[in-house]
């Protein structure tokens, strides 16, 4: 119930492509779904986040799609660039503790 499942484990796209990373959860009490981006040797940094009362959120080239009934959410990166090459983590949390339950991560490589 506490797990967040993430796929794929790794992804290679060409520059300009649209990588899509998918996550699924079981616990319907989760009320916050952030995506974090991590570069090698750095800590994760918040990219974009969504709440379950919204089906889509866009920030720049990054879009989260959220399907509450299916308990799934995904990250789309429009016009991907080599600088987007990083590991992406979906996460979920509930309530005031802000305890983040992370997915297993997706290593994205954007080839020039």
């Amino acid at each position: 119930q506490q797990q967040v499942k993430q796929s794929p484990q790794s992804l290679i796209v060409q520059k300009g492509g649209i990588p899509i990373i998918n996550c699924a959860y079981e616990n319907t009490a989760f009320d916050y779904f952030p995506w974090y981006q991590q570069f090698p040797g750095k800590g994760p940094a918040l990219l974009i986040a969504i709440r379950p009362d919204v089906s889509e959120k866009k920030e720049g080239r990054f879009t989260i799609s959220f399907n509450k009934s299916a308990k799934q959410f995904s990250l789309h990166i429009m016009d991907s660039q080599p600088g987007d090459s990083a590991t992406y983590f979906c996460a979920a949390s509930r309530g005031a503790t802000n305890k983040l339950i992370f997915g297993t991560g997706t290593l994205l490589a954007v080839q020039p």
């Binding site: 009320d31 916050y32 952030p34 974090y36 991590q38 040797g41 750095k42 800590g43 994760p44 940094a45 918040l46 986040a49 709440r51 590991t87 983590f89 949390s93 509930r94 309530g95 005031a96 503790t97 802000n98 305890k99 983040l100 339950i101 992370f102 297993t104 991560g105």
Partner: protein, 113 residues
């Protein structure tokens, strides 16, 4: 001006030793965390403190003891280090309340030999 800073960045030590990792945040946040990232990059929360009070303590061996001298600092002390403790440890902070962004430090790579 680093928001969440950890020291040291790298730590290599022998089995059985005791070591500490320090964390400081200058964001004025009330809540601080320790996360562990294993060799497969899986991130898992260990502890959370809110205004110096422990609020989350996951199933972590009691060899790990967090200490928060004030709300801007959260240190992690590890006794009797084991090979399996090798990982990257991240400190993070956030405002209290629901759905607030967590800011992570750069991590401390602990290697136990």
């Amino acid at each position: 001006d680093t928001a969440v800073s950890q020291t040291p960045k790298y730590l290599v030590t022998q089995m059985g030793n005791d070591k500490s990792i320090k964390c400081e945040q200058n964001l004025g946040h009330d809540t601080m965390y320790w996360y562990k990232q294993d060799s497969k990059k899986f991130l898992k929360i260990m502890f959370s403190y809110n205004n110096k009070e422990l609020i989350i303590n996951e199933t972590v061996p009691n060899r790990f003891s967090p200490k928060s001298p004030d709300k801007a600092h959260l240190n992690l002390h590890i006794n009797s280090l084991e090979l399996g403790d090798s990982a990257v440890y991240f400190c993070a902070s956030s405002q209290p309340g629901s759905n607030t962004e967590a800011f992570f430090g750069q991590g401390t790579r602990l290697t136990v030999v």
